[in-house]
């Protein structure tokens, strides 16, 4: 094999003369590339940096909501009537939930639903969030977490707890699952109780810990606590008693209102049937109604003291003035006004004591319709009571110009106008508070004494109180209103219920409004029993005993000294009442 030396330096490939500009051109292109990069870097970092900044922020800055606590509702002694506590709510992500039939079956059982119901909730796989069940028990949430199902989570929500339950349900009301008030003072004071949520922006690290605050934090403003004038003990006791009366008298419903006339505070406002605010699964309208404020009825005989009070004020009669009520009937045009049984000559005191319709009409017909209307209005009839409560009604008192004489007559004993039990109780504060109409409050006032607009002179108010006291002693219509240790006074009322266009013949409403202690009044208590069907239906039989027990407990709890020596309960012959 022959060899031939190769001269690389004189390779013909190298012989061609490369022009210098080519290498320069390459250098220039690369340099331009780098310049481009520098320019781009400068552009995104200095000139138009918002986009990447935003992208960065999205990845590590979080806005945290700072929820505000809803304020508590307290009774006058600071006992909790409603408070919010955090409870777990269960939610799922249908997109990536683990569909293990055994686990899902166990989950459905824990949630208290059927497998089909659970499947229905999870069927839409496009969704990334569905509530499975809100506000479950802590133990249920723990059991669910123990199942370790992928795609099922819990989150804390606030739930409203009502420790007092049924007795105070109508006053306090309740909130919905979003923590907004739906009924009662929860609704009326929703704004004050609700507070305002705050927020803060933070940087979170990979482990989800907050490492830095950015900007101003907006602190949450917790809702204010609301202290009501209600005394939960009085409330409970009144509730138990009215419940007992409704059950034994086989009635449809009942209500009690207890007012402190010195301070103008509502101590109790009770209705039966009631409901448990925590368990609102199957509520009926009958349970939800706050009858004491929303139901109106014809007040019947309880109007008589108002009319007699006006007659005293106008100087038409004196308590001792004698009135002929025989023969227990009074013809007015085509209508006849009757008493339950004829009484003969009665003093004005006895007209109230025995609840004589004829006597009251004879007094009323000496007065001007305008004066009667004015007193009714001053005592709050036909006007919405100034209590912060949804659905409180005004009742009805027609304009005096439209009154015919027979209507003036029937109104004097409580027919042809309507009022709620609360209004009736409030009207009686005039007699209890020396002739002044006391403004009422459902919120604790911390005032020792309030005064109101004068309706009657204090002598006349005392005279009426004396008549009311006579109702409860021998010869009156409500001896069952007597209570041991305390002197009481009050007026019974029994009214036929209105049905369609007329009065229902066998449906009644019995009620009683009274004051105690009668000489130095502290409270007004009004009791109403709707449609008692177990034989007794007179206010003196169905409502007065509730009044008696409520007064006794309330005054004892308030520390009012008994003003009477204790005697065994006197049961006297009951005077039959007219209605």
């Amino acid at each position: 094999m022959s060899s031939r030396s190769v001269q690389y330096t004189s390779s013909p490939l190298l012989a061609s003369k490369t022009p210098i500009w080519r290498s320069q051109f390459i250098v220039a292109v690369i340099a331009a590339g780098f310049l481009g990069l520098v320019a781009r870097a400068a552009y995104v970092q200095v000139i138009d940096n918002a986009f990447f900044k935003r992208q960065g922020t999205v990845r590590f800055v979080r806005t945290l909501d700072l929820p505000a606590n809803r304020g508590r509702i307290l009774d006058r002694n600071g006992n909790i009537l409603a408070s919010s506590v955090p409870v777990p709510s269960i939610w799922a992500n249908p997109e990536d939930i683990e569909r293990d039939p055994v686990k899902l079956k166990a989950l459905a059982k824990l949630l208290g639903m059927t497998g089909a119901e659970l499947d229905k909730k999870l069927q839409d796989e496009d969704k990334i969030f569905v509530w499975l069940k809100r506000q479950v028990d802590e133990s249920v949430a723990k059991d669910i977490a123990a199942l370790k199902i992928k795609g099922v989570y819990d989150r804390k929500e606030y739930k409203r707890i009502y420790p007092e339950g049924e007795s105070v349900a109508h006053v306090v009301g309740f909130t919905n699952v979003e923590n907004l008030g739906q009924e009662g003072v929860e609704l009326t004071f929703n704004k004050d109780l609700g507070g305002r949520a705050g927020s803060r922006r933070v940087i979170k690290d990979r482990l989800g810990r907050v490492v830095e605050d950015i900007g101003e934090m907006v602190p949450p403003v917790d809702g204010q606590d609301l202290q009501l004038s209600i005394d939960s003990k009085v409330q409970y006791f009144a509730y138990e008693k009215i419940k007992e009366s409704v059950v034994t008298n086989k009635a449809v419903a009942g209500s009690v209102v207890v007012l402190d006339i010195k301070t103008g505070e509502v101590l109790a406002l009770v209705n039966y049937p009631s409901y448990s605010p925590g368990k609102r699964g199957s509520l009926s309208g009958a349970q939800l109604r706050n009858r004491a404020l929303t139901d109106t009825f014809e007040p019947g005989s309880t109007m008589k003291p108002l009319v007699v009070g006006l007659a005293l004020e106008k100087g038409i009669v004196k308590p001792e003035t004698l009135i002929q009520t025989a023969p227990g009937k009074l013809q007015m045009g085509t209508a006849t006004i009757t008493d339950a049984h004829p009484h003969g000559v009665l003093s004005v005191n006895e007209v109230i004591q025995k609840s004589s319709n004829v006597g009251t009409v004879k007094i009323a017909m000496q007065m001007q319709p305008h004066d009667m209307w004015e007193v009714f209005t001053q005592m709050g009839l036909g006007q919405k009571p100034q209590v912060p409560f949804p659905g409180a009604v005004a009742g009805k008192v027609r304009a005096y110009k439209t009154w015919r004489p027979i209507e003036q007559a029937t109104m004097s004993y409580g027919y042809g106008l309507s009022t709620s039990l609360f209004q009736l109780a409030q009207a009686y504060t005039v007699f209890a508070h020396d002739g002044e109409m006391v403004p009422m409050s459902l919120v604790k006032t911390n005032q020792a004494q309030v005064s109101g607009a004068r309706v009657f002179s204090s002598q006349n108010a005392a005279a009426i109180r004396n008549m009311l006291h006579m109702v409860t002693i021998q010869g009156g219509t409500a001896p069952k209103a007597q209570t041991m240790g305390y002197s009481v006074g009050g007026k019974t009322g029994t009214a036929h219920k209105v049905e369609g266009k007329g009065y229902a013949s066998k449906k009644y409403r019995g009620f009683f409004v009274g004051i105690a202690p009668i000489d130095n009044p502290r409270i007004v208590v009004a009791v109403m029993v709707d449609e008692p069907t177990n034989g007794a239906y007179f206010g003196g039989d169905v409502a007065a005993p509730v009044f008696s027990q409520t007064v006794q407990q309330t005054l004892r709890m308030m520390g009012v000294q008994p003003d009477m020596a204790v005697k065994p309960q006197v049961v006297t012959k009951v005077e039959k009442e007219s209605f």
Binding site: N69, R72, N79, I80, S83, S84, V85, P86, I161, P163, E164, G165, S167, V202, D205, R209, V210, V211, E212, D213, S232, K233, Y236, F237, M484, G485, Q552, P562, V566, K567, P568, Q569
Partner: protein, 101 residues
Amino acid sequence: MSRVSFLLMIAVMVSALYLVRTQYESRSLTTEIDRATNEARRLETENDRLDVERRAQATPLRVEKLAREQLHMRTITPAITQYATVSGGAAVPAASAEVHP
């Protein structure tokens, strides 16, 4: 000249490392504060919850039920009243009346 530059460079580096350290410390302190704040809030709500629970255990309904059933008590009534009169500075029961309604 180059010595001054070198010293300055060292100073800048020390300062930079110190900054990193401070930042780190500040962040861990923030985490700590946040954890403590959350804990405080948790305890507060826990306190609220226990308050409600305590109240729920002491409602008149429950108290009365327990008093009646377990302690065999009954509601007081003025029908059973003992009168005491004060004589010679000392209260002695002078008369006692027990009346049942």
